[in-house]
């Protein structure tokens, strides 16, 4: 490190990815805060270590890495930006913050922002660098135990978790939840926790800038959105760090891109659209932090590596089931604890309090500092200890056990065994994309017949009620299947090679169990579970596995984004999305994705020993294959009928 860098940072932390992470004085108290320290006990990639044993990274080191890259990224951005643009940006930030302070609709007492005190570009750049670093450090503090894997359940059962917090706290939380429908739960909670730790951190951090960055919507062109995109956008410090770190931990080669080149090329640029929040009636600036065109190849490599990482590591068939099993395990444990009913819905007045899972809404009369430390106690261990207790607590049937309780008990024990002991009591219907392609190929004729049948139904339904709404949905949904299919130039009811038949089943699976995004409060999980339960109920059971059940999983990768949401490239001071400038190599990823196994089906059984018998596996696989078409028919029929 240079002497200048040494003066800039009060602490230097060794890191296997970035070698050294410098910590600015202002951010040190933030790192030491229990909310950030809690991330040492929140796994980065949940159950991926079932497949990649060294993949035991924690959110803490990732957050440090993101902070380092955000700070460095902003410093490079500022140094690559010309004086006029710097002045305009600075004015935009200060004007915006001032207008928030002047807003008469604000009822709380507003603290002045540090930016109102500064006079030079250097001071401004430093305050923003600290704020961007703080936002990056805090971008994951809202994560639930086991990160994304249990996020849906925490969101769905938040009412139970915070039930003891008092009406005012609950009402406040519900208000913030309304405003964040469709957003990731950890982002929503991150904003809440950041505001809770603010009073404890007395160093010179401009919290207005930090909270604006955390709360802003991505890719909208406001100044805080531009900074948000640097922290958490299409190509951002979050992704740069996790791709480098997680691939390294997994032992794969996918983190081989030129991060330095990317950071060195960053520029702040204005576009020309209206910032709707200022409402001045004049044209305002659309702010973008873009990559210089010299980094185009590094960007392409990054996007390809990210796709590879998702394809081979995150959506490895074993990783997928390991994470789904943890989620199902907690789902059934909640039923056994009589917190939820047989549909997974919260019961009125459950005996067990959810307070032991509360890491986001404070309760009690303690001061803020003590309350924050209490919230920071909830981590991965909380979940594991709860599951361990559940194993002995629900080892035996309860008196007068109901059918669904028996089912929940057997399934919980079976899933807990897989989670804790990695018991191989499950079998996938396919492992590789090739296996899946073969399966699709064998069913191609039958599935196209099903699609044609649905098409006929839609036509018949739609004829008398052309403008009736429901039937229009049926018709368009059915055409969606055709649309995906036609895009591949494979006409229905004609022979197709194995890879070409894959998009059809992928699109059918999306119709049956998928949703447009995973950030849907558990909707996709419930759809997967609902469909798998129906399959379990209707398929002919296999000898030796009377209590076996199915788990379905649908996961789609969006290889890269296009338009405003894409990474932006600057060429001769003009900003254009990478999607308009890059080679067809990245477009090819979309075709690869269409042929990837987006759908997975697993059979899980309490009788794991019998699973080792290849005849047993053969019977399960055979029955699955024989039953699958009937299942698809029944599921799609539900879509097109009233």
């Amino acid at each position: 490190m240079t002497n200048e860098d040494a003066r800039e940072f009060v602490k230097v932390i060794r890191d296997p990815v970035h070698d050294y992470v410098g910590v600015p004085n202002e951010l040190l108290p933030l790192i030491d805060h229990p909310f950030v320290q809690r991330l040492r006990r929140i796994s980065q990639t949940a159950m991926s270590s079932s497949v990649y044993p060294s993949m035991n990274g924690r959110r803490f080191e990732h957050s440090l890495g993101a902070m380092h890259l955000a700070y460095q990224g902003w410093i490079r951005t500022w140094s690559n930006t010309n004086r006029q643009i710097r002045t305009d940006f600075r004015d935009a930030v200060i004007t915006s913050l001032q207008s928030e302070l002047d807003d008469t609709s604000r009822t709380e007492e507003s603290a002045p922002h540090l930016l109102s005190e500064i006079s030079t570009d250097e001071q401004f750049a430093r305050i923003i660098a600290i704020a961007v670093g703080a936002a990056a450090l805090l971008h994951d503090v809202g994560h639930a135990p086991y990160s994304h894997t249990l996020e849906d359940l925490f969101k769905a059962y938040a009412d139970w978790i915070i039930a003891d917090c008092g009406q005012a706290a609950i009402a406040n939380f519900d208000l913030s939840r309304s405003a964040s429908v469709g957003r990731d739960f950890h982002e929503q909670i991150g904003i809440l926790l950041a505001s809770r730790l603010e009073p404890e951190v007395t160093s010179r951090i401009d919290w207005r800038v930090v909270s604006n960055i955390l709360a802003s919507d991505p890719a909208t062109g406001t100044w805080d959105s531009a900074l948000h995109d640097l922290v958490s956008g299409e190509v951002d410090v979050d992704r740069l760090d996790y791709l480098l770190r997680d691939t390294r931990n997994s032992g794969t080669e996918f983190g081989a891109f030129d991060k330095e080149r990317l950071l060195q090329s960053l520029e702040l640029l204005p576009g020309a659209v209206v910032d709707p929040r200022l409402e001045t009636g004049h044209e305002n600036t659309r702010w973008v932090i873009a990559f210089g065109s010299r980094a185009t190849s590094a960007l392409e490599t990054f996007i390809i590596n990210r796709y590879q990482y998702y394809r081979w590591v995150v959506y490895h068939y074993h990783t997928v089931i390991a994470n789904r099993m943890l989620k199902h395990c907690v789902f059934y444990l909640l039923q056994l604890e009589k917190v939820t009913d047989q549909n997974g819905k919260l019961r009125a007045n459950p005996v067990l309090s959810g307070a032991f899972l509360n890491y986001f809404v404070a309760q009690g009369d303690m001061d803020t500092k003590a309350l924050n430390r209490q919230l920071a106690l909830v981590d991965d261990h909380t979940i594991i200890e709860w599951i361990k207790r559940g194993i002995s607590k629900f080892a035996q049937p309860a008196e007068q056990e109901l059918d669904y309780e028996r089912r929940a008990r057997i399934r919980f024990q079976c899933l807990a065994s897989a989670v804790l002991h990695r018991t191989t009591n499950w079998v996938p219907m396919w492992k590789t994309d090739e296996d899946y392609a073969q399966f699709c190929y064998e069913r191609f004729g039958a599935l196209t017949t099903v699609v044609e049948s649905m098409h006929s139904r839609c036509k018949a339904d739609t004829a008398p009620l052309r403008n009736g709404g429901l039937n229009r949905i049926s018709a368009i949904r059915e055409s969606f299947i055709h649309m995906l299919y036609d895009r591949e130039d494979v006409p229905l009811n004609q022979a197709a090679l194995p890879p070409e038949s894959v998009p059809l089943l992928n699109s059918i699976a999306r119709e049956i169990v998928g949703t447009s995004t995973e950030a849907d409060g558990g909707t996709r999980f419930l759809r997967e579970m609902n469909a798998a339960e129906y399959f379990t109920r209707t398929w002919p059971p296999v000898d030796g596995h009377p209590d076996g059940f199915w788990i379905f999983a649908y996961d789609e990768i969006k290889p890269w984004r296009v338009g405003d949401e894409a990474a932006q490239i600057s060429r001769n001071k003009t900003v254009k999305p990478l999607s308009e400038q890059s080679s067809s190599m990245l477009v090819h990823l979309e075709r690869v994705e269409l042929r990837r196994a987006q759908f997975h089906c697993y059979f899980v059984t309490p009788n794991g020993d019998a699973m080792r018998n290849s005849d047993s596996v053969g019977a399960i696989t055979g029955r699955f294959r024989a039953h699958f078409n009937n299942f698809v028919y029944a599921s799609l029929k539900a879509n097109v009928e009233d």
Binding site: N467, F480, T515, G521, T523, R527, D615, G622, A626
Partner: protein, 113 residues
Amino acid sequence: MKELDHGQLKTSRQQKGGDLSESYEEVLDEIVELPPYVDPFIETEKAVYQLVFQQPGREYTIEEIASVAHDMGPVDPREAAFSAARSLEALGLVAINARTLAISAHRVETGSV
């Protein structure tokens, strides 16, 4: 066509003399009717579209569309309804205002499908 993997069931055509392993016949073109399948997500999608289709162009709030969501167990009706709206958006039926999250149905030509 690829040979079946070891351990998979064989069709009777693939069984050789003396092979007593369990066999199955793949019925690829014949569909057996199963009990009706009910998917609350699809029902929600239909209900949301029914609602917003009544006044194409009018913006409906999350709370309004959540009021017609079907029971999805633990999922907040607002999340279920919004997820359904996103699905309808992907089908080209509705528009979602990115800032306010309000949903509106596209105007459609009478008679078009």
